[in-house]
Protein backbone atom coordinates (compact mmCIF):
# COMPACT_ATOMS: atom_id res chain seq x y z
CA UNK A 1 0.00 0.00 0.00
CA UNK A 2 0.84 3.71 0.17
CA UNK A 3 1.88 6.18 -2.53
CA UNK A 4 5.09 4.98 -4.05
CA UNK A 5 4.57 6.48 -7.46
CA UNK A 6 2.87 9.82 -7.05
CA UNK A 7 2.10 11.67 -10.25
CA UNK A 8 4.64 13.95 -11.87
CA UNK A 9 7.51 13.06 -9.55
CA UNK A 10 9.64 10.90 -11.83
CA UNK A 11 12.99 12.53 -12.47
CA UNK A 12 12.27 15.26 -9.96
CA UNK A 13 14.71 14.19 -7.23
CA UNK A 14 17.50 13.88 -9.78
CA UNK A 15 16.71 17.24 -11.35
CA UNK A 16 16.45 19.16 -8.08
CA UNK A 17 19.55 17.60 -6.55
CA UNK A 18 21.70 18.23 -9.63
CA UNK A 19 20.35 21.73 -9.89
CA UNK A 20 20.82 22.79 -6.30
CA UNK A 21 24.25 21.19 -6.01
CA UNK A 22 25.37 22.88 -9.21
CA UNK A 23 24.87 26.21 -7.50
CA UNK A 24 26.52 25.40 -4.20
CA UNK A 25 27.99 22.54 -2.24
CA UNK A 26 25.63 21.07 0.36
CA UNK A 27 25.29 18.09 2.66
CA UNK A 28 22.32 15.74 2.55
CA UNK A 29 20.38 16.94 5.52
CA UNK A 30 20.82 20.53 4.37
CA UNK A 31 19.70 19.59 0.89
CA UNK A 32 16.44 18.17 2.21
CA UNK A 33 15.58 21.59 3.60
CA UNK A 34 16.88 23.39 0.51
CA UNK A 35 14.55 21.38 -1.69
CA UNK A 36 11.54 22.30 0.41
CA UNK A 37 12.58 25.92 0.54
CA UNK A 38 13.54 26.40 -3.10
CA UNK A 39 10.28 24.88 -4.27
CA UNK A 40 8.31 27.20 -1.99
CA UNK A 41 7.24 24.23 0.17
CA UNK A 42 5.58 22.70 -2.88
CA UNK A 43 7.87 19.71 -3.01
CA UNK A 44 9.20 17.89 0.00
CA UNK A 45 11.60 14.98 -0.40
CA UNK A 46 12.26 12.80 2.64
CA UNK A 47 15.74 11.76 3.66
CA UNK A 48 14.96 8.28 2.47
CA UNK A 49 14.60 9.73 -1.00
CA UNK A 50 17.46 12.20 -0.94
CA UNK A 51 20.25 9.99 0.39
CA UNK A 52 19.75 7.16 -2.09
CA UNK A 53 19.56 9.77 -4.85
CA UNK A 54 22.86 11.28 -3.75
CA UNK A 55 24.53 7.87 -3.68
CA UNK A 56 23.17 6.92 -7.05
CA UNK A 57 24.24 10.19 -8.65
CA UNK A 58 27.70 9.96 -7.13
CA UNK A 59 28.17 6.39 -8.35
CA UNK A 60 27.24 7.58 -11.82
CA UNK A 61 29.85 10.31 -11.61
CA UNK A 62 27.34 13.15 -11.62
CA UNK A 63 28.20 14.26 -8.10
CA UNK A 64 31.41 14.37 -6.10
CA UNK A 65 31.53 14.23 -2.32
CA UNK A 66 33.91 15.22 0.45
CA UNK A 67 33.71 14.59 4.16
CA UNK A 68 33.86 17.61 6.47
CA UNK A 69 36.18 16.75 9.35
CA UNK A 70 36.23 19.93 11.43
CA UNK A 71 32.48 19.93 11.86
CA UNK A 72 30.81 18.76 15.09
CA UNK A 73 28.78 16.18 13.24
CA UNK A 74 30.03 14.09 10.38
CA UNK A 75 28.86 15.74 7.20
CA UNK A 76 29.20 14.66 3.62
CA UNK A 77 29.22 17.56 1.22
CA UNK A 78 28.23 17.05 -2.39
CA UNK A 79 28.55 19.10 -5.51
CA UNK A 80 27.65 18.58 -9.14
CA UNK A 81 30.47 17.52 -11.44
CA UNK A 82 30.98 18.59 -15.04
CA UNK A 83 29.26 15.42 -16.18
CA UNK A 84 26.47 16.18 -13.74
CA UNK A 85 26.03 19.57 -15.32
CA UNK A 86 25.74 18.04 -18.74
CA UNK A 87 23.16 15.63 -17.39
CA UNK A 88 21.36 18.57 -15.77
CA UNK A 89 21.22 20.38 -19.09
CA UNK A 90 19.67 17.28 -20.63
CA UNK A 91 17.09 17.03 -17.85
CA UNK A 92 16.22 20.70 -18.22
CA UNK A 93 15.53 20.13 -21.89
CA UNK A 94 13.35 17.15 -21.06
CA UNK A 95 11.54 19.22 -18.47
CA UNK A 96 10.89 22.02 -20.95
CA UNK A 97 9.65 19.61 -23.55
CA UNK A 98 7.36 17.62 -21.28
CA UNK A 99 5.99 20.52 -19.26
CA UNK A 100 5.56 22.51 -22.44
CA UNK A 101 3.67 19.64 -24.02
CA UNK A 102 1.43 19.19 -21.03
CA UNK A 103 0.67 22.87 -20.73
CA UNK A 104 -0.15 22.98 -24.43
CA UNK A 105 -2.59 20.11 -24.01
CA UNK A 106 -4.14 21.70 -20.93
CA UNK A 107 -4.39 25.10 -22.57
CA UNK A 108 -6.29 23.64 -25.50
CA UNK A 109 -9.51 24.79 -23.81
CA UNK A 110 -8.86 28.36 -24.80
CA UNK A 111 -7.61 27.51 -28.27
Amino acid sequence: MSKTNPPFMSGVPELLVLRLLSQQEMYGYELVRAIRHSTLESISLAEGVVYPTLHSLESRGLLRSREASNSVRPRVYYKTTARGKRRLKELLQDWDRVSGGINAALGELYA
Copy 2:
Protein backbone atom coordinates in the same frame (compact mmCIF):
# COMPACT_ATOMS: atom_id res chain seq x y z
CA MET B 1 17.10 -2.61 -20.84
CA SER B 2 15.87 0.61 -22.46
CA LYS B 3 14.04 3.65 -21.13
CA THR B 4 11.18 2.39 -19.05
CA ASN B 5 11.17 5.25 -16.62
CA PRO B 6 11.89 8.42 -18.51
CA PRO B 7 11.97 11.60 -16.46
CA PHE B 8 8.84 13.63 -15.83
CA MET B 9 6.45 11.14 -17.38
CA SER B 10 4.81 9.69 -14.28
CA GLY B 11 1.14 10.52 -14.18
CA VAL B 12 1.27 12.02 -17.64
CA PRO B 13 -0.65 9.31 -19.53
CA GLU B 14 -3.43 9.40 -16.94
CA LEU B 15 -3.60 13.20 -17.01
CA LEU B 16 -3.65 13.54 -20.79
CA VAL B 17 -6.14 10.75 -21.33
CA LEU B 18 -8.56 12.06 -18.71
CA ARG B 19 -8.16 15.55 -20.03
CA LEU B 20 -8.68 14.82 -23.72
CA LEU B 21 -11.56 12.43 -23.10
CA SER B 22 -13.26 14.99 -20.87
CA GLN B 23 -13.51 17.28 -23.88
CA GLN B 24 -14.71 14.73 -26.40
CA GLU B 25 -15.28 11.06 -26.87
CA MET B 26 -12.49 9.26 -28.71
CA TYR B 27 -11.25 5.77 -29.52
CA GLY B 28 -7.80 4.53 -28.59
CA TYR B 29 -6.05 4.82 -31.88
CA GLU B 30 -7.45 8.29 -32.36
CA LEU B 31 -6.33 9.25 -28.88
CA VAL B 32 -2.76 8.28 -29.64
CA ARG B 33 -2.73 10.87 -32.40
CA ALA B 34 -4.61 13.42 -30.33
CA ILE B 35 -1.98 13.20 -27.60
CA ARG B 36 0.81 13.87 -30.08
CA HIS B 37 -1.07 16.69 -31.67
CA SER B 38 -2.35 18.43 -28.54
CA THR B 39 1.11 18.44 -27.03
CA LEU B 40 2.56 19.97 -30.19
CA GLU B 41 4.46 16.75 -30.94
CA SER B 42 6.29 17.14 -27.62
CA ILE B 43 4.81 14.02 -26.08
CA SER B 44 4.17 10.81 -27.94
CA LEU B 45 2.58 7.86 -26.19
CA ALA B 46 2.67 4.51 -27.96
CA GLU B 47 -0.39 2.28 -28.22
CA GLY B 48 1.20 -0.03 -25.69
CA VAL B 49 0.97 2.80 -23.20
CA VAL B 50 -2.41 4.20 -24.17
CA TYR B 51 -4.47 1.01 -24.28
CA PRO B 52 -3.44 -0.26 -20.85
CA THR B 53 -4.08 3.22 -19.48
CA LEU B 54 -7.59 3.23 -20.95
CA HIS B 55 -8.34 -0.19 -19.48
CA SER B 56 -7.00 0.77 -16.09
CA LEU B 57 -8.94 4.02 -15.99
CA GLU B 58 -12.12 2.29 -17.08
CA SER B 59 -11.76 -0.40 -14.44
CA ARG B 60 -11.38 2.35 -11.86
CA GLY B 61 -14.57 3.98 -13.07
CA LEU B 62 -12.86 7.07 -14.41
CA LEU B 63 -13.76 6.31 -18.02
CA ARG B 64 -16.76 4.74 -19.68
CA SER B 65 -16.61 2.97 -23.05
CA ARG B 66 -18.99 2.05 -25.82
CA GLU B 67 -18.40 -0.02 -28.92
CA ALA B 68 -19.16 1.55 -32.27
CA SER B 69 -21.02 -0.99 -34.38
CA ASN B 70 -21.71 0.86 -37.61
CA SER B 71 -18.06 1.59 -38.20
CA VAL B 72 -15.99 -0.36 -40.71
CA ARG B 73 -13.47 -1.29 -38.08
CA PRO B 74 -14.32 -2.19 -34.53
CA ARG B 75 -13.83 0.88 -32.43
CA VAL B 76 -14.10 1.40 -28.71
CA TYR B 77 -15.00 4.95 -27.79
CA TYR B 78 -14.14 6.27 -24.36
CA LYS B 79 -15.16 9.32 -22.41
CA THR B 80 -14.36 10.65 -18.96
CA THR B 81 -16.96 10.00 -16.27
CA ALA B 82 -17.93 12.35 -13.45
CA ARG B 83 -15.55 10.50 -11.16
CA GLY B 84 -12.90 10.83 -13.84
CA LYS B 85 -13.42 14.56 -13.90
CA ARG B 86 -12.95 14.76 -10.16
CA ARG B 87 -9.76 12.75 -10.52
CA LEU B 88 -8.68 15.07 -13.33
CA LYS B 89 -9.18 18.09 -11.10
CA GLU B 90 -7.00 16.44 -8.48
CA LEU B 91 -4.29 15.69 -11.04
CA LEU B 92 -4.39 19.25 -12.32
CA GLN B 93 -3.81 20.50 -8.78
CA ASP B 94 -0.88 18.11 -8.39
CA TRP B 95 0.49 19.25 -11.70
CA ASP B 96 0.27 22.90 -10.71
CA ARG B 97 1.92 22.25 -7.39
CA VAL B 98 4.77 20.12 -8.74
CA SER B 99 5.46 22.13 -11.87
CA GLY B 100 5.20 25.33 -9.87
CA GLY B 101 7.67 23.99 -7.34
CA ILE B 102 10.11 22.89 -9.98
CA ASN B 103 9.93 26.15 -11.86
CA ALA B 104 10.47 28.03 -8.61
CA ALA B 105 13.58 25.98 -7.91
CA LEU B 106 14.85 26.43 -11.46
CA GLY B 107 14.16 30.14 -11.43
CA GLU B 108 16.21 30.61 -8.29
CA LEU B 109 19.11 31.70 -10.50
CA TYR B 110 17.53 35.04 -11.11
CA ALA B 111 16.35 35.55 -7.54
